[in-house]
Amino acid sequence: MSKKIQGLAEIDRIIHEPARLMIIALLATVNDADFQYLHLATGLTKGNLSVHLSKLEEAAYIVIEKSFRGKYPLTICRLTGQGREAFDNYRKVIKAAL
């Protein structure tokens, strides 16, 4: 089996989950986004989104900041440097294998 395909065995499983991949890919495309934006763009339920964001935060791939804009509560999510690096590595592995 070629080394490039063997690389798939060591793929980052935190990012590899489709919902988390979608969240990370979206956050890589923007500077930051709030929970509501991610909920509408991804189509995930709020509970599902919340669980995946927690997992990504535990892995230090994203940071979550809670604030207010007037009376509206904002939960801002932003990709960390580590998260960006992990996403770029993930893309390289997938591209190389396919």
Partner: protein
């Protein structure tokens, strides 16, 4: 459902994410209104000298000065509008629509924008040059058709890449109106003015409909 794209390992996740971001940008109709107003303003700037020639007595210095002032005001308005209106759309979203659309800080990828512009020009510049040289006696009509097809191409790309269906309709209308106007004997200035005004008004009207439908959706609060 966007997640289905991310289940396929062959799709580039960055491209899909960009697609979702563009779809989100056009969700509330504000971009349509912004583009439509830009086109209407363009049409007004184009129409001033034509209106002066066609509708008013010639040789009057006062009238010449008045139309000069109107042109300068419209051009300045256009510049200020172009610079500030993107901020205005963002302000409207964050002030009035944040509960419905959420908050996002877009990333400006200048290199990608320049690359897109170069590809776009590379596609249409040869057509424009061909229109000038192949049809020297009808170069006006050729140029206006090419400009119409440029808008058609741009709208078609947004419709395809961002999956924003109404841009497919704008694309068809752009092509049809450009070809129809080129077939008439109207000069290029009037043709472009009518074309921009028509497309602009369609987009403003459509944008307002989309915005009204978007506002009527119940706002969801975070849990």
């Amino acid at each position: 459902m966007p997640i289905s794209f991310f289940r396929s390992m062959t799709a580039d996740p960055s491209t899909i994410a960009e697609r979702l971001v563009i779809k989100a940008k056009f969700r509330d109709g504000l971009q349509d209104i912004y583009i439509g107003l830009t086109l209407v303003l363009c049409a007004a700037v184009e129409a001033v000298p034509y209106a002066k020639r066609a509708g008013f007595p010639q040789g009057s210095t006062a009238l010449d000065v008045a139309f000069c002032v109107i042109s300068i005001v419209l051009c300045s308005l256009f510049v200020v509008y172009t610079v500030r209106s993107r901020g205005a759309a963002k302000w409207v979203r964050e002030r009035y629509l944040i509960e419905r659309s959420g908050y996002v800080e877009q990333k400006l990828n200048k290199r990608k924008m320049v690359r897109f512009l170069l590809v776009f020009l590379a596609a249409f510049l040869p057509l424009a040059i061909a229109a000038l040289f192949l049809f020297p006696t009808h170069s006006d009509r050729g140029m206006s058709t090419v400009i119409g097809l440029m808008f058609c191409g741009l709208d078609a790309w947004i419709a395809w890449f961002g999956r924003v269906f109404r841009f497919a309709i704008y694309s068809v209308l752009s092509a049809a109106s450009a070809i129809f106007l080129a077939a008439t004997s109207i000069g290029i200035v009037a043709t472009l003015s009518i074309f921009f005004a028509f497309l602009g008004l369609v987009m403003v009207f459509s944008g307002f409909i989309v915005l009204l439908l978007f506002i009527r959706r119940p706002a969801e609060r975070e849990a």
